[in-house]
């Protein structure tokens, strides 16, 4: 019997399961990684009794907007997942079709938290450089056949197609995204929010007309250009029209996109998100976002009932993602994904992303979670470790991991050095985001890898291990572009010299 298959009775907790309407103190029995029973009675022989008196017990939380991978991701993605009570999360746009292979190679099996992908329409995925990604050129090369082939090869991995409603090119890119999402049979997931700080027109409003039932618009309560309120603070009619058509609204708290002033006005007019998500990433995990639980607490302070908050992190996202056959409920037979939390009372400052705060007298604090029956005790500060969120190139030393590279990896790196030595890039390539250089570096990486017959994962990690002390994941073209070229070539020479020494 493994830890995950153990029989456990979660006893004495107040169970809230919006999918079944359960809202009372009752036992939940976990067995063989599944929900085995809901109801009081004698515990099965040999079962471990977990006393949860004074706690709440809910289906495992689903965060449909995080950045676990890529330029915004973490060294330890579980730190914003299972360790914070989240049993399922979705990578929101880190990879695109040009980098989904890298995403799969690096992320498969990396997390205890169930990880799904919501890739970006842009082939490179989220660039994370200077907000230049509104440039329509970054949409160059959208291969429909590759998208369809990827879907077939990885059934169930993709849960939505992400686009950004911004830029200076009218509604054309939005329709391209909608068209591809329809072709792939995925919901469209649309970012509105900070990109409207770029120069451009108000095309983002068009997404409220283009989106259809089941599509999701995130960052509902942002306070940047093209928000959901008019100048008098009234909800725009086109926003309510979209909701009536069945378009879903998500909060996507993030580092730029939640304002108390907007939230209070919109909430008072019954413009309420259907889904609560965090948008956790490197740049907001040590504030103001902190955790999905923190965002949930903000909705309690806004006036939402606890049960409605729970619905928005369980049954609602599971249904929107078509994951309700495996997540979002405590129905018997479903995987034993459970979150346990308590309500803390006191005086808590809850900040939005614009340096405005409200004081709350209670907050939600995860205590433990079960993923497929495996128990993980919560650790809300694990994510804040600098090594988890600060990508820092080891400029003055060779990371220890480089000492453990295999001969095949070293041979690959030596060949890669030769290939990229023929590509010129410098600081301006990053400052102005030279997409073509990033693609050239990515192409060189893959050409060498194929010539060396090295699998994708060991090839990617070989490069990262030469420059990073902590195991971040990132699109390889972007990673190489971000490196100082002189340092990159010198480091690859230094590391591969070891190969010659061994030989």
């Amino acid at each position: 019997m493994t830890e995950a298959t153990a029989t456990r009775v979660l006893r004495g907790g107040h169970v809230i399961d919006p999918a079944t309407g359960l809202d009372r103190i009752v036992d939940i029995t976990l067995q063989d990684g599944k929900i085995a029973a809901v109801g009081d009675g004698p515990a099965p022989a040999g079962a471990e009794i977990v006393d949860l008196a004074g706690h709440y017990v809910t289906p495992g939380w689903v965060d449909l907007h995080v950045h676990a991978y890529g330029t915004l991701g973490f060294a330890d993605p579980d730190s914003i997942g299972i360790y914070q009570g989240v049993t399922t999360f979705v990578e929101a746009g880190g990879p695109g079709i040009g980098t989904l292979d890298e995403f799969v190679a690096l992320m498969e099996g990396r997390t205890i938290t169930a990880l799904y992908a919501g890739p970006y329409l842009r082939p490179m995925g989220i660039v994370g450089l200077n907000f230049i990604e509104g440039d329509i050129r970054s949409l160059t090369g959208i291969p429909i056949a590759e998208w369809m082939d990827f879907m077939k090869a990885h059934p169930g991995l993709l849960r939505y197609l992400k686009i950004g409603a911004f830029g200076s090119y009218g509604k054309g890119p939005l329709k391209m995204g909608k068209g591809l999402a329809e072709t792939l049979g995925l919901p469209l997931y649309v970012h509105i929010g900070e990109h409207q700080q770029q120069k451009g027109d108000d095309a983002s409003y068009e997404i409220f007309r283009i989106a259809e039932a089941g599509d999701i618009i995130t960052h509902l309560y942002h306070n940047n250009r093209t928000g959901v309120l008019d100048r008098d603070g009234k909800v725009l009619p086109l926003v309510k029209d979209a909701e009536r058509r069945g378009v879903l609204f998500d909060i996507g708290f993030g580092g730029y996109n939640f304002a108390w002033s907007v939230a209070e006005k919109a909430y008072a007019q019954d413009l309420v998100p259907h889904i609560i998500s965090s948008d956790l990433q490197q740049f907001n995990v040590i504030g103001p976002t902190f955790s999905l639980a923190n965002v949930m607490s903000i909705f309690l302070r806004l006036g939402m009932s606890l049960n409605d908050v729970i619905a928005r992190v369980t049954t609602a996202p599971a249904k929107a993602l078509k994951l309700d056959d495996r997540a979002g409920s405590l129905k018997v037979g479903l995987p034993a994904d459970v979150t346990v939390f308590r309500i803390e009372e006191g005086a808590f400052e809850l900040a939005d992303t614009y340096n405005s705060s409200r004081t709350a007298d209670r907050r939600i604090m995860p205590v433990m979670a079960f993923k497929g029956g495996r128990r993980i005790d919560s650790d809300m500060t694990r994510c804040q470790d600098e090594r988890n969120w600060l990508v820092q190139i080891a400029e003055t030393h060779v990371p220890a991991a480089a000492e453990r590279l295999t001969p095949a990896q070293l041979a690959f790196l030596a060949a890669l050095r030769g290939a990229i030595a023929g590509i010129q890039w410098d600081a301006s390539s990053v400052e102005n985001f030279d997409l073509w250089k990033a693609i050239a570096l990515q192409d060189a990486f893959h050409a060498v890898r194929r010539a060396q017959d090295l699998a994708l994962k060991p090839a990617l990690t070989a490069v990262f291990d030469c420059f990073l002390d902590h195991p971040f994941t990132m699109q390889i073209g972007l990673f190489l572009l971000r490196l100082d070229r002189t340092l990159a070539l010198a480091r690859l020479e230094q590391v591969t010299a070891q190969r010659r020494k061994v030989a």
Partner: protein, 107 residues
């Protein structure tokens, strides 16, 4: 390496100044921090989204400053963005001499 002329920071008494302290070098608004190795000046507004760095946090054992608005980190030695390639912060050498503070753009 020298980065230009020293500018006397009028109105800042090194004996009584509280850091971080606002100052001006010519027309440039800066803020001066006390780190483990001495005083260092940086431009007052973050180059990312112009958030005030008067609330900046010294990090990385005194080698970096973190903008609290979006957690962008910059090296105090040369202003280079650590986790935000493409962004650069103007940094200033700061010295105390004859009971006054002086600053100059770092070379």
């Amino acid at each position: 390496m020298s980065g230009g002329e020293w500018h006397r920071l009028d109105g800042l008494d090194p004996a009584s100044a509280e850091f971080p302290a606002r100052a001006r070098v010519g027309s440039e608004a800066i803020v001066i921090f006390k780190t483990g190795t001495g005083l260092r000046g940086v431009q007052r507004l973050c180059p990312h989204q112009r958030a005030p760095l008067t609330n900046g946090v010294i990090a990385g054992n005194g080698t970096m400053i973190r903008c609290p608005q979006h957690n962008y980190l910059f090296r105090l030695a040369d202003g280079k963005g650590v986790n935000c390639p493409g962004y650069k912060l103007a940094v200033y050498d700061v010295k105390e001499e004859d009971g006054a503070l002086y600053a100059r753009p770092a070379g």
